[in-house]
Subunit: 102 residues, 2 copies
């Protein structure tokens, strides 16, 4: 299978978590149409209420990297940056061996 999974987390300045989540949900609609996108979901964690979590699965890391250039995605990144409480942490990258649902 050898697909690419990325677990990311973005932490918002206090009071901006909902706005950040809304931007990422918009981004998910755009990247859903990008080549090689299998999953792009946005989550939250009651234990960490300022953060928004992103779990992505792509056919390859190259497809993921290319998605950052999709029209509209750069604009959404620009909107999200001022809401962040510091630079984004590097995500956790996994190589998928197989499974169900994608």
């Amino acid at each position: 299978m050898n697909k690419y999974l990325l677990n990311g987390k973005l932490t918002a300045k206090p009071g901006h978590q909902e706005a950040l989540a809304a931007i990422l949900l918009q981004a998910s609609e755009l990247v859903a149409t990008a080549k090689g996108c299998r999953l792009y979901v946005i989550g939250q964690n009651p234990d960490d209420p300022h953060s928004v979590y992103i779990t992505e699965i792509w056919d390859s890391k190259a497809d993921h990297d290319q998605s950052l250039k999709v029209e509209g995605v750069r604009e959404l990144i620009s909107q999200a940056m001022p809401l962040l409480d510091g630079p984004p942490a590097k995500g956790q990258e996994l190589e998928l061996l197989g499974g169900a649902g994608i």
Copy 2:
């Protein structure tokens, strides 16, 4: 949406990572048919070669919990336990807000 995402990790005793991954891939075939299972994928991380990673999405946490009782799954858990290098760590639970691909 309010689906349930679980990121889990199991660490094998040295030399048993492949066997552990094979058991989890078998488990994925069983749980794929369980009620509410949307995603169940098995991954690895080159930086952590003794571990196997599991990312699951379910319609609800209750559906996830119920899946541990699926016929065959308990047997696979029993096969996996002796391969583990210590008890499984608690996974990261997220509440999904939305996104694409499920």
